[in-house]
């Protein structure tokens, strides 16, 4: 079973113009933790979704715990 995001043949052939530079986005880019991106790119797409699933469940547990602590 392959997990790679793959281009399908129906993807249109086109000359890809570079995205126009946006100075605001360029500023935000300086603070991106690229090590996290590198780690994610080593994973399969399925693993990325499973990580997201774990993150969401963890976040909801934290919310529940915070609610309990405040009540």
């Amino acid at each position: 079973m392959s997990h790679k995001v793959t281009n399908r043949p129906e993807t249109k052939a086109q000359v890809v113009e570079p995205l126009p530079l946006d100075p605001v986005i360029e500023t935000y880019k300086k603070d991106i933790d690229v090590t996290l991106l590198d780690e994610n790119l080593k994973l399969t797409v399925e693993q990325r979704i499973l990580n997201l699933q774990s993150f969401v469940e963890f976040a909801l547990e934290l919310r529940k715990a915070a609610k309990t602590a405040c009540s």
Binding site: H3, V5, R8, T11, I25
Partner: protein, 162 residues
């Protein structure tokens, strides 16, 4: 609030033969984003047949307008979906945004050429290509997306150079 079950939602739509494209935060995750999201955004094909398939597979999961007061009359059927365009729903599998079109990208048919497919959990899933995802987020122009766009552009640069 119940945690969204991403694999179950994707499987439900795929096994229901719904024509859809994953967009938004989950598409970003599929491309390698390190940002979390709490809902699934999909653009669906607006043909009567596809809308009916969507209704058939989603109806058992109690779809309701997210954030609407309980008791508000809402009938989830093909007619309702046909008359509307974008729906933010709660379901027993978690929050699902059912979109007929997205800013900067248009409808299913407009987006199709800029999609990619991924094999996951034993089925094939179509998601918006990274570049188009950036274009749609840029077009939406929401301040909260600036950081996400910056990250997606960093990913695009990485995938170009790898």
């Amino acid at each position: 609030m119940k945690a969204i079950d991403f694999p179950a939602l994707l499987r439900m739509l795929t096994e229901g033969n719904v024509e859809f494209i994953v967009v938004g935060g989950v598409a970003a995750i599929m491309h390698g984003s390190a940002r979390g999201t709490f809902d699934l955004d999909v653009v669906h094909r607006r043909t009567p047949e596809n809308i009916q398939r969507l209704v058939n597979c989603l109806a058992p999961h109690s779809p309701y307008l997210r954030g609407a007061p309980p008791g508000l009359p809402f009938r989830f059927d093909a007619d309702t979906i046909r008359r509307g365009l974008n729906f933010t729903l709660s379901t027993t599998l978690g929050p699902l945004d059912l979109l007929g079109e997205i800013t900067g990208g248009g409808r299913y048919e407009d987006l199709l050429a800029d999609t990619m497919t991924a094999e996951l959990f034993g089925f094939t899933c179509r998601c918006l290509g990274l570049r188009k995802l950036i274009e749609t987020k840029r077009a939406a122009g929401r301040p909260r997306d600036l950081d996400a766009v910056a990250e997606l552009e960093a990913l695009l640069e990485k995938t170009k150079t790898s």
